[in-house]
Amino acid sequence: MKDLYNVSASPHVRSGVTTRSIMRDVAIALIPASAFGVYQFGFKAFLVLLTSIASACLCEFLWKRFVVKKSTPYECSALVTGLLLGMNLPASVPLWIPIVGSAFAILVVKEMFGGLGQNFMNPALGARCFLLICFAGRMTAFAVEQSGSHFMNGAASIDGLSSATPLAVIKNLEAGQSISANVSLADMFFGFTGGVIGETSTLAILLGAVYLLAKKIISLRIPVAYIATFAVFVYIFGGHAFESDGFCYLACELCGGGLMLGAWFMATDYVTSPITKGGQIVFGILLGLLTGIIRVCGNSAEGVSYAIIFCNLLVPFIEKFTMPRAFGVVKKKKGGAAK
């Protein structure tokens, strides 16, 4: 018995990608957007992000320590959830908000449903919507105090920032008022506008998205289907299609609100998006339609968060109807037995 070796069924090799390396890459990809948020909104934003991450990790640790009671490999997923939640909060919130939010995201949305891989909706967005409903005032207070220690630098660049986000400005425009005169598209693209910490800079988000695509963490299916459907929808039904600044309106809708952050980082969340390739495209299209409907017809200028958590719930149905046909299997004949 001296010559015994490990025996296991094939395969005997694995790729180097692990859950942990994926979570690490997502966190890296979120750095540009969150760093810009801190640059723009100051130290307060940094505190919000930090509190959110720390409380998410702590909640997960406590749950695993006292409820699961089994040592499980640490996947860094709470870190990503915490960071995403922080990025979805205005910098002006009191620090107990991210703590409550993280606890809700980790404990209620994620762990109570079975932990990593089992949550039925995106934990960060679930928590954000929970906070929006409970503490609507604080969650939409995008006004940024221009005095005090909250600003380390960059204050000048957001001079004249109103309490409303650009999308709210556009939505509340009176007939005849020009869009391009009221919002600056360049500011929206680079991120010098009001909003939650991580959503303002389209450029920074796209940088992160390119990193994820290059690392093959995400595919183009969901984000492109989402953004394209949304663009077509708001262009047609947004009411500005035949005006001179129709395209400016479209660009503002694309850069504004949480669309970019949602499309590239939240809708592509593995656990809460369809696993079938066809399903991912259907999911993206539904998201685009729903976001468009909420933004155009709803009271709110936003709609990404609600659209995503709503579509999260549809994922099992989408998967059911988009099962691919196996290699070489021809379409079943009517009434024929499954073979």
């Binding site: 010559d3 015994l4 070796y5 490990n6 025996v7 296991s8 069924a9 094939s10 395969p11 005997h12 090799v13 694995r14 790729s15 990608v17 692990t18 859950t19 390396s21 994926i22 499980t72 490999p73 996947e75 997923s77 932990g115 990593l116 891989g117 089992q118 595919s219 593995y270 656990v271 998006s273 696993i275 079938t276 390739k277 991912q280 998967e319 099962m323 691919p324 046909r325 196996a326 290699f327 070489g328 299997v329 021809v330 499954a338 073979k339």
Partner: protein, 451 residues
């Protein structure tokens, strides 16, 4: 578009399929070293089950003297083949013996007299153009030739489809997509002429077919060499296919070469194809043109624990331990030994196992990579879906497997799985998908048999 220099093969048109993975190839360890002929030790072991189908039946008794090339076991059913002795010597024993797959089957033990006295007529040149189709098929059957890519399906059955005029492609599988394996590559370089001649022989059976030698694009020397050999052949060409695992899987290769797709319940012949491994085709040449039955096998010995990784031309029945010794043995004691490639090979717990017709490699690894990553929960990342060459959803199949829900497993085409290992390879959570699917498929097949 713009003028390309004349090529003997089409470089731009590389065949491929959807899905698949790119494991570390590790072929550089052994690919540039010539194959070494290895003479066996005192005792050779011939398991009666070296192929798919009914085990062969011994036709020698203990104490008999046998000659090299002599038939020692005969086919015991339609899907079965004979076995020939690879040395001359005395039959010592016939007893149940452990084989690579872990099952115990009867095996003939022969004591090597080291004379290598050939049986009458062994190695005699034969003009196959004078043979009828049936004679060629009979020779292939009597030579005990089976698919040497690993499955071991009797070759004469493949060469006898229902309608031979429906066959328009004879595909030689030179893709060798399994990591570390270089035996087919060495054979193409060293015995390319025999390979091409083997294709010519098969083409004699199928008047309407063309021969295609498919080679992955990570073997430029083999592509160059074989293309040179077939440049005057009207009916044989080289097809370059993209380097990707599992390019060498029969169904995927047919798709890459012809664009046709077959599912698990169809035969390659249903798509007008016959696919044979490189070594199999060379064996056909040996049997038909040189009157030599299948009694040797080229084995790659490789892996980071092997002192001198290279290929050996081994007589079947030789023990793995002797082949291992010829390669210099282990640098350090490995954690894992594999018979075959890293993706579909079988783990060994002992090296005292004989080389059979289907043994393609012996790999030894210092670390077992499957132990490095603990198994975590599925995060539904979809990598298994991207990787699956059969266009399945391994994640859902595993969920069904875990709840022993055979009905759901079959409803999502779980039985189409060919256990290639791609899903386990890519899973970031370290889940053993292939292993679980394999088990479920076996149990479903067993239950079908019971009914």
């Amino acid at each position: 578009m713009f003028a390309l220099p004349a090529l003997r093969y089409d470089k731009m048109n590389k065949g491929t399929f959807k899905g698949g993975v790119h494991p570390y190839e590790g072929k550089e360890l052994s690919m540039d070293k010539p194959t070494v002929k290895l003479l066996p030790g005192k005792e050779l072991v011939y398991p009666m089950s070296q192929h798919i189908g009914a085990p062969s039946k011994p036709i020698v008794a203990v104490g008999d003297h046998v000659l090299m090339g002599q038939k020692i076991a005969e086919a015991s059913g339609f899907v079965s083949v004979p076995i020939s002795a690879s040395v001359s010597g005395t039959v010592k024993d016939i007893k149940p013996t452990l084989t690579v797959s872990g099952s115990i089957v009867d095996a003939i033990y022969i004591e090597n007299d080291e004379q290598y006295t050939p049986v009458e007529g062994l190695g005699e040149k034969r003009d196959y153009t004078k043979l009828s189709k049936q004679e060629i098929r009979d020779i292939v059957k009597e030579a005990g030739i089976v698919g040497m890519g690993g499955a071991g399906f009797p070759t004469f059955i493949k060469l006898t489809p229902k309608d031979e005029n429906a066959i328009d492609y004879i595909i030689v599988n030179g893709s060798e997509c399994e990591p570390y394996l270089t035996s087919d590559y060495r054979m193409m370089l060293e015995e390319g002429d025999k390979l091409v001649d083997g294709v010519r022989i098969i083409l004699r059976l199928f008047d309407k077919a063309q021969g295609v030698i498919a080679i992955e694009d990570n073997k430029p020397k083999a592509i160059e060499h074989i293309s040179e050999l077939v440049k005057n052949e009207e009916r044989i060409r080289v097809q370059v296919v993209r380097t990707k695992y599992p390019e060498g899987s029969e169904r995927q290769l047919i798709k890459a070469v012809t664009g046709r797709k077959i599912n698990s319940s169809m035969l390659p012949a249903d798509a007008g194809c016959i696919v044979n491994n490189v070594d199999t085709v060379i064996s056909i040449h040996m049997a038909v043109a040189e009157s030599t039955p299948l009694m040797r096998r080229v084995v790659t010995v490789s892996g980071d624990a092997i002192v001198n990784p290279q290929n050996f031309n081994v007589k079947t029945g030789t023990k793995y331990s002797e082949v291992l010794e010829a390669a210099g043995g282990f640098k350090v004691k490995p954690e894992k030994l594999i018979s075959g490639g890293t993706m579909m090979g079988m783990g060994l717990f002992d090296v005292n196992i004989p080389v059979t017709k289907t043994s393609s490699a012996l790999l030894a690894f210092i670390k077992d990579p499957m132990l490095l990553v603990p198994e975590g929960p599925c995060i539904r990342c979809g990598r298994c879906v991207e990787a699956c060459p059969e266009n399945l959803i391994p994640q859902m199949m595993m969920e069904a497997a875990e709840r022993f829900d055979d009905a759901s497993f079959e409803a999502i085409s779980g039985m189409e799985c060919m256990e290639c290992g791609s899903c386990t390879f890519v899973c970031p959570a370290g889940r053993k998908l292939t292993q679980s699917l394999k088990q479920t498929r076996r149990s479903i097949l067993d239950n079908r048999k019971k009914k």
